[in-house]
């Protein structure tokens, strides 16, 4: 990694000197644009945090860290997935580093803390990938826009999929017991029960639950399917206990948020054929944009990108597209935010654009785990979309006012 970084710095320096040599006047008059990236680089979420930084750098390196003749400088700050730390680091970036733009944070509960800094200082915040529904619904900040996803946005299509496509009438949810888990789970419960489905049980587990034996053995016997929403290390524990207790012979499993690209290397062929995610991005999306992104990511980092890498990559792409429209003028904050709100972006995950509440309208993919042969990584497991819900809004099919009047999803 350090070697790679040195290499990139070196080549960037050479590129810069060549550039300086040819057109010195142009570069001197344009100040670089400084972007502060907030990600957890230590602690339990260091892995997605690192993916986020990798995805963001991957994008900017692919365009020579330049937009409209201005250089891009990225300052990374470690939030440790702790709101206090996120707040301190965001303030440091805004006030001391004097960044032009903030991108991040990762953890849902860090989101409001960083949004507060954006409101205080006026520095625009591109929120990625923290999912808290609030940010683009009840507690909006004029300088904050989201380029990733709202939690319940991926839950709503799932409820419909369970009822209409799979013909299920009664299901059991295994939900992660914190804001993100509540919003995804209850979003799916809402659309499923509105159609007439019945929820047999919701088993809430604290994040970091060590032992899933109790959970899998608490599943009601006659339930139609089990729908897990689990995060972090819990994902592997559930996978093991699911098969160890013979649940695969008793129940159907249709996951909402479970088998992401980062855990797939830890699993085995038992995962093949499982519907592992209903999500706005999986690595197996079959478009030229995504293929190029995934291949480049694997080449650089020797791993298949999960949605965290794609999300940060797209945040970069989105910012660049907006800046090109305003001729790189990040100092005009209103102009930049307006451009962010109006551009159409062709991201690896598909077409994206913001709704009137600053949340992306985007596809949601139901995906299945498949075994594929990769030229670099060999035999690997991969999430492939089997059904696409196109242009899904954070409000699903409801009117925004109706949704907002109903209030947040809460246990």
């Amino acid at each position: 990694m350090p070697k790679f970084r040195a290499l990139m710095l070196g080549s960037a320096a050479i590129a810069l000197s060549l550039f300086l040599g040819s057109t010195p006047a142009q570069v001197q008059e344009k100040k670089p644009i400084k972007i502060g990236l907030l990600a957890p680089l230590t602690g339990p979420l260091a892995s997605p945090g690192t993916e986020m930084v990798n995805g963001f750098r991957q994008y900017w390196n692919s365009v020579n860290n330049t937009v409209s003749g201005r250089k891009i400088e990225i300052v990374v700050a470690d939030t440790t997935c702790n709101p206090d730390q996120a707040l301190t680091q965001a303030r440091r970036l805004a006030l001391q580093e004097k960044v032009d733009l903030l991108v991040g944070p990762l953890c849902g509960h860090e989101g409001p803390a960083v949004a507060q800094v954006s409101a205080e200082t006026g520095v625009p915040l591109v929120m990625d990938p923290a999912g808290a529904d609030d940010v683009t619904k009840w507690k909006r900040t004029p300088t904050v826009i989201r380029t990733a996803v709202s939690s319940s946005q991926i839950g709503h299509p799932l409820g419909e999929y369970l009822y209409k496509e799979l013909g299920l009438r009664n299901v059991t949810f295994i939900g992660a017991d914190y804001t993100f888990g509540h919003e995804v789970t209850l979003g799916a419960v809402k659309t499923f029960t509105d159609l007439g489905g019945k929820v047999d049980r919701i088993i809430w587990n604290p994040v970091g639950t060590k032992d899933y034996s109790t959970t899998v053995n608490s599943i009601p016997a006659n339930t139609g399917a089990v729908v897990p929403i689990v995060v972090g290390a819990d994902r592997i524990r559930l996978f093991e206990d699911w098969f160890n207790y013979g649940m695969d012979k008793k129940h159907k499993i249709v996951a909402s948020y479970w088998l992401h690209e980062d855990v797939l290397p830890q699993l085995d062929d038992r995962a093949v054929g499982i519907i592992g995610n209903v999500l706005h991005y999986v690595a197996g999306i079959d478009t030229p944009e995504n293929k190029a992104f995934v291949d480049e990511h694997i080449k650089l980092y020797k791993r298949v990108p999960s949605w965290f890498a794609e999300s940060a990559y797209t945040a970069g792409l989105w910012v660049k597209t907006a800046l090109e429209k305003t001729n790189g003028n990040i100092e005009d904050r209103d102009g930049f935010l307006k451009a962010m709100r109006t551009v159409d972006v062709k991201a690896p995950r598909g077409p994206v654009k913001l709704d009137a509440y600053d949340n992306p309208i985007q596809n949601v993919y139901v995906s299945k785990v498949e075994k594929v042969k990769h030229p670099v990584l060999g035999d690997i497991l991969m999430n492939k979309p089997i059904k696409t819900y196109e242009a899904v809004s954070q409000f699903w099919t409801w009117k925004p006012e109706e949704f907002l009047a109903r209030g947040p999803y809460k246990r």
């Binding site: 339990p44 060590k210 959970t215 524990r237 093991e240 980062d262 855990v263 290397p265």
Partner: protein, 286 residues
């Protein structure tokens, strides 16, 4: 009825793992009044080392051996060069060993990365056995319970039926007196501490196959081990056995019957117990 028994076995398998960690913690405290908060990190590091050994050699037994011996060596240096110089100041010990735990955690993150990793099991421990009545039970958990019982029995025999055990017990009760009759308690402590580190390392490798290894796992497991130690009574081996079983069963039944209150089910009874017996079930006044 089946569910009640099944959840009991689930609870016991977690109890077996917790016992491995808690027994070392409690006896080192009892003997030396050393509060070592780094045991969680020992567990994690032992697990990661075991993971690397398993990946290169494919031998689970070797993974357990190398993982635990590495922790014995590490534990020795931490005791000798970090904990001993600061004497019996508990606050300083806690701060120091928490620092050591953070340090180990960061080193693990730098080497093994932030992904959740799982130690592959040897084929004879993979899968499950089918019990009568169509119940599947994972072999690993059965092996874990057996291993826990074996360890508890060996420790009990060592503690109660050997001369070393007698000296350790005497040291727990009255350290100055044991010193005064010519036994070097410091040297004895090296031995006890080595056993504790060994068990923490083994727990890590077993836990790595059972629960996965990831940054932060050291604190998750330490909190449960502390509950075991506090419920059972600091310094008591029997307390560690009973504490592990209580915590394991409360965890399993709690999350089965009242999943919404799973943390309360674990910590509520602990608080009530401490109100009436501040020293834990088997603890003595120190």
């Amino acid at each position: 009825m089946t569910a009640i028994i099944l959840q009991a076995i689930n609870g016991l398998s977690l109890a077996a793992l917790l016992f491995l960690l808690a027994s070392g913690f409690t006896v080192t405290f009892g003997l030396m009044r050393v509060v070592n908060m780094a045991y969680g990190a020992y567990y994690l590091l032992g697990g990661y080392i075991g993971l690397s050994v398993m990946r290169t050699t494919g031998s689970f037994e070797l993974a357990m051996l190398v993982g635990s011996v590495a922790i014995v060596i590490l534990g020795f240096f931490v005791d000798r060069f970090l904990i001993r110089p600061i004497g019996s100041n508990h606050l300083a010990q806690v701060l120091l060993t928490v620092g050591v735990a953070f340090f180990i955690g960061e080193v693990c993150l730098a080497i093994w990365g932030g992904d959740s990793l799982k130690i592959q099991l040897p084929s004879y421990l993979r899968g499950s056995v089918e019990l009568p009545g169509g119940i599947y039970y994972p072999k690993l958990r059965i092996a874990l319970i057996a291993f826990g019982i074996l360890t508890a029995t060996s420790l009990w025999l060592l503690y109660h039926k050997t001369q070393i055990g007698a000296v350790v017990r005497a040291g727990v009760d009255d350290r100055e007196m044991v010193n005064a009759i010519g036994i070097n308690v410091d040297r004895l402590f090296v031995l006890v501490s080595a056993v504790a580190s060994f068990l923490a390392g083994i727990a890590g490798v077993v836990g790595g196959a059972f629960l996965t290894l990831n940054p932060g796992a050291e604190w998750d497991i330490l909190v449960l081990a502390l509950v075991v130690v506090i419920v059972g009574g600091l310094g008591s081996l029997e307390g560690a056995v009973l504490g592990s079983i209580v915590v394991g069963l409360l965890d399993a039944y709690g999350r089965w019957l009242a999943p919404d209150f799973s943390y309360f089910v674990l910590f509520g009874p602990m608080a009530i117990l401490l109100l009436f017996r501040p020293t834990g079930i088997f603890g003595k006044e120190h």
